[in-house]
């Protein structure tokens, strides 16, 4: 019974993995010591942003144009799938001196 359940989960995971388009990439953005690295990055719609907060302070990745606003709890990594193509200036709402640019291609 338990084994059957596990197998079902593994099958579901395998199917799920196959459903991800081959070109989708993961782009890592790190916030550490109140600095966003890299300051400029390029991605495609469908790519996943891996937002790493290495500070003991909460940050956000907030697009100036309103396209996204992701909370980044202290010492946590969160992910966000890019939905819209555009060149986005984003910043941290709590510390607006933290700024970077993300170019999202279609």
């Amino acid at each position: 019974m338990r084994q059957g359940g596990l197998r079902a989960v593994i099958t579901a995971l395998a199917l799920g993995a196959m459903a991800v388009p081959a070109h989708a990439a993961t782009i890592q953005i790190v916030m550490e010591n109140l600095v966003i690295t890299p300051a400029e990055a390029t991605a495609k719609v469908g790519d996943t942003l891996e937002l790493v907060n290495r500070d003991v302070f909460a940050h956000t990745a907030t697009a100036k144009n309103g396209d996204f606003d992701v909370m980044m709890p202290p010492n946590k990594t969160v992910t966000y799938v890019l939905k819209k193509a555009s060149t986005v200036d984003y910043y941290c709402r709590f510390h607006p001196n933290m700024k970077a640019t993300l170019k999202i291609e279609p």
Partner: protein, 173 residues
């Protein structure tokens, strides 16, 4: 009456910069004490705002201040413990605390939108003063590399707070 109030405001404006206007060389235990005191002052102001503020943005800003300054002060406490340094009370810390107590009492007499505006305006001014002191006095005077690095992180955080406070202030107009 109005002249008296004006004189009082002028005196306070002069006093707000005065806490840091000493020429004496500060030691690391004194610098640690000043930085910790400066953080606690902002936490006390934010806690007052959490109970008094009416604007949603001002309340959220106060939450951010409590969270960040408590996190910085925890790091400061961990560091002095690690370095086996006992923070040392000093004239700058005393002057800061005295001014802050007066300001807290003054803000305590306001309410509603007037309070929100005055709190946020003071946050802009206070962070500006502390950032100036960090840049010109506390960071250059500190000798321990880890203390200096923590103060530099603090400066970036507080510069962020200053900008955040300016945004909130602009949204209240």
């Amino acid at each position: 009456m109005f002249i008296r109030l004006g004189a009082a405001i002028a005196a306070m404006a002069l006093a707000s910069g005065a806490a840091f206007a000493q020429g004496a060389k500060l030691t690391d235990p004194q610098i640690a004490h000043i930085a910790y005191t400066a953080g606690n002052i902002d936490i006390a102001a934010a806690k007052q705002a959490q109970s008094k503020a009416t604007s949603k943005d001002v309340k959220a800003f106060a939450d951010d201040m409590v969270r960040d300054h408590e996190a910085v002060n925890k790091q400061a406490l961990d560091l002095v413990k690690k370095l086996n340094v006992t923070p040392e009370d000093n004239d700058t810390s005393k002057a800061l605390s005295k001014q802050a107590a007066d300001k807290l009492a003054e803000l305590g007499r306001l309410s509603g939108a007037a309070y929100d505006k005055a709190y946020v305006a003071n946050e802009v001014a206070y962070h500006k003063t502390v950032n100036g002191a960090l840049e010109k006095q506390l960071i250059p005077s500190s000798s321990n590399a880890e203390l200096k690095s923590l103060l530099q992180t603090g400066l970036k955080i507080f510069q962020g707070h200053e900008q955040h406070a300016e945004h909130v202030a602009a949204s209240l107009k």
